[in-house]
């Protein structure tokens, strides 16, 4: 942007003066963009994801491969349009070399599609957990060291059927792609074990009054699988309890995460004992995890009681970037070829176990089966029941069989 045009824009609006950060890119600096939801209803989650990224960067003293890292933050409001807008600004205006993010599912697919148009930049996922970010039509420069929403449910269906003895369940989940993916992951194991999902309630997003859903829950079932997040989960739990419901619950990955565990209200007692599965478990007895939690608490007095899966996800992705940069000594020449090769072949040790990538550059990682328990401090937390090692995107099925199941949706899969 030349001086002349700049003045002309100024004539239109004073606000044009922002954004001319004279970014004389030094040779020994690598520019990294971090994209999270720092606006809108997901702000709290976005802030925790930034804590995770910051923690990884601080541990590396903002250096990688002998070069200084310059961090630029991007913000979306969880809508895919805003995610692409923010990514475009980071890539095309701030000229980042590497972009870490975004946070939510549809944002991930949108950014993946954008990544295809920017082959010179390496994109590393945040916590976006949509299957098709990597499974179908992947972008060659998009890497995901975390796992998807179906992987997050690995082992839960078998556990609910075998150990808990639930034979007939219904599911209650929001009516969009992320819950479809979660229900898919749960049902794959549950149906295969011989369980039946007699009915699936898809609740419109934003619906707060679940009383009529509660009234429609049949009496002859063993448990309710609930994949609702944030406000909706709390609403459902409260109303179910108010109506005198007593069927045990099985939780999706965000149903019983810190946002729900930490919320105030009476349903707290009821959710104790709820099994769920996800990429983290608060009290996993593992030195690396314990150190991560301690570091998180020490670094952020304003954080959650324990890092959320968003903090963990961004930490893992940032750590992958740092480790790969160290391996190639910060060499981003030749279209970042060496760096991407390092990422592809990375064997990363994370607070949640080792991570490798598959051929679509999707994470193969540990998954945690948990049950809600009450800690000595009175806070609820997820107690580890079982660690499922090396969960891949096809959940152990051969790829052709898995692909034959088709994309997730309201009616896929089905075992009434």
């Amino acid at each position: 942007m030349s001086k002349m045009t700049r003045r002309a824009v100024l004539a239109v609006s004073l606000a044009a003066s922002v954004g001319f950060s004279a970014s004389a890119m030094a040779e020994d600096t690598i520019k990294v963009g971090i994209l999270a939801t720092l606006q809108g209803a997901f702000t709290v989650l976005g802030e925790d994801s930034m804590r995770g990224a910051k923690l990884a960067l601080q541990e590396h003293n903002m250096m990688a491969g002998g070069k200084k890292l310059e961090i630029v933050t991007g913000s979306s409001d969880a809508s895919p349009d805003s995610a692409v807008n923010a990514a475009r600004k980071l890539v095309e205006q701030d000229k980042v070399d590497i972009l870490v993010g975004p946070l939510s599912g549809d944002e991930g697919i949108a950014v993946k599609n954008y990544a295809k148009t920017q082959p010179q930049v390496t994109f590393i996922n945040g916590t976006s957990a949509a299957q098709d970010t990597t499974l179908r039509d992947p972008a060659p420069n998009f890497f995901r060291f975390t796992t998807d929403g179906a992987q997050w449910q690995a082992g839960l269906g078998e556990y609910a059927f075998g150990t808990k003895g639930y034979k007939k369940v219904i599911t209650i989940a929001e009516d969009y792609s992320f819950p479809y993916t979660q229900v898919f992951g749960f049902m794959l194991g549950f149906c295969k074990s011989g369980g039946h999902v007699v009915n699936k309630f898809w609740v419109p997003i934003g619906n707060k009054d679940f009383s009529s859903i509660v009234a429609s829950i049949p009496d002859d079932i063993d448990a309710i699988y609930v994949a609702l997040g944030g406000a909706d989960a709390v609403n459902f739990l409260n109303q179910y309890e108010q109506a005198g419901g007593d069927k045990p619950m099985i939780g999706g990955s965000i149903t019983v995460d810190q946002t729900v565990l930490g919320s105030k209200g009476k349903q707290q007692e009821y959710i104790i004992g709820t099994p769920s599965a996800g990429p983290i478990a608060d009290n996993w007895d593992n030195a690396a995890w314990k150190k991560f939690v301690a570091d998180y608490k020490a670094a952020f007095s304003d954080g959650f009681p324990s890092p959320s899966l968003f903090a963990q996800g961004y930490y893992v992705e940032t750590l992958a970037m740092l480790t790969a940069l160290d391996q190639v000594k910060g060499d981003l020449s030749d279209g970042q070829k060496a760096f991407r090769d390092a990422l592809t072949n990375l064997k990363l040790d994370t607070p949640t176990g080792p991570v490798t990538l598959d051929k679509n550059r999707n994470g193969i990682a540990y998954n945690f089966l948990t049950e809600v328990a009450k800690g000595d401090d009175g806070n609820l937390y997820n107690k580890v029941v079982k660690v499922v090692e090396n969960v891949n995107q096809t959940l152990g099925l051969p790829e052709d069989q898995f692909m034959a199941l088709g994309p997730v949706g309201r009616d896929n899969p089905s075992c009434p």
């Binding site: 809108g40 209803a41 997901f42 702000t43 709290v44 989650l45 009516d175 309630f201 898809w202 609740v203 419109p204 934003g206 619906n207 707060k208 009054d209 009383s211 009529s212 859903i213 009234a215 429609s216 944030g230 406000a231 709390v234 609403n235 409260n238 109303q239 108010q242 109506a243 005198g244 946002t259 930490g262 919320s263 105030k264 209200g265 009476k266 349903q267």
Partner: protein, 288 residues
């Protein structure tokens, strides 16, 4: 059959909540022609304020009072400090309320965060009651209380409007603002009182509604839209219309959720369009 009865009851209790929110909205519009698109923000803010008061005092009832009073004060301030200056400029007032709702939503997010807040009503108000022994039909006691409180407030509003001096002034103002002020009434005071009452009702609904459901970011838009649809259907400015509109919308929403979940949310808007097609001024509204 049991499901149907429960669903209808759910629809009616939800309608009670919608009525509480929409009655304040319609009252303010009826008198001042002020389409307060920040009404949903007052609902949410009232809920938050009520929550803090309840936490602080340990009393849920003080929380309800705090929600009402807090928003009544905010409403009176808004009327005196801002809307009074732009009397008769309908559009400009509405634009101001849109600006307020944007700023308020963001500031509330800053103060109360993205968490979901749930109230802790007195234990004798919560839990299920058994309505029928064979077959067992249980229903949340609190929702029945919510319904009752809406009926009480509805009757109270009717009495206020029809049997008191201030009510007569408000009704006179609805019919003919010019005549009201010409007859020596301090119109500005009537306006401020009405706005305070309407905003207070939103704050009250924020607490009692937040207790039945919960309060979280986004609820402001949701209840604003519910109020809009309710008063468009029921007729702008009519409290009776708000009751009718709320009943229709509450029932449509809950029956839709159970019997046709996919398009349940769209039905309320279909009702609105249908009413507009046949009675543009709403069921109880008077032709403009």
């Amino acid at each position: 059959m049991k499901l149907f009865i429960l669903t209808v009851m759910n629809g009616l209790t939800l309608a009670a909540l919608y009525f509480l929110v929409a009655s304040g909205f319609t009252l303010v519009f009826g008198l001042m022609r002020n389409v307060n698109l920040a009404h949903g923000s007052l609902y949410l803010l009232g809920g938050y304020v009520g929550f803090n008061v309840a936490e602080w005092t340990g009393s849920w009832f003080l929380g309800v009072a705090g929600g009402f009073l807090g928003m009544a004060i905010v409403g009176a301030i808004l009327q005196v400090a801002i809307f009074r200056r732009m009397q008769g400029q309908d559009l400009r007032q509405t634009l101001v309320t849109i600006g307020l709702s944007i700023v308020l939503a963001d500031l509330m997010l800053a103060v109360w965060g993205g968490d979901t807040y749930q109230f802790d009503p007195p234990s004798w108000l919560s839990g299920p009651v058994t309505l029928m022994a064979h077959p067992v039909v249980k229903y949340p006691l609190y929702r029945l209380v919510l319904f009752l409180s809406a009926v009480v407030i509805g009757i109270g509003l009717w009495l206020l409007l029809n049997k008191t001096r201030i009510g007569m002034m408000i009704r006179a103002g609805v019919d003919d603002r010019g005549m009201l002020s010409a007859s020596g009434v301090n119109v500005q005071r009537v306006f401020a009182i009405t706005f305070a009452l309407g905003a207070g009702l939103a704050g009250f609904a924020g607490v009692v509604g937040g207790t039945a459901l919960s309060i979280a970011p986004g609820e402001d838009t949701r209840y604003l839209l519910a109020s809009l649809v309710v008063v468009i259907v029921g007729g702008m400015g009519s409290v009776t219309g708000a009751a009718i509109g709320a009943t229709l919308i509450g029932l449509a929403e809950q029956l839709g959720l159970v019997y046709s979940p996919t398009y349940g949310v769209v039905y309320t808007f279909l009702i609105m369009v249908a009413v507009l097609a046949f009675r543009p001024q709403g069921i109880m509204g008077r032709a403009a």
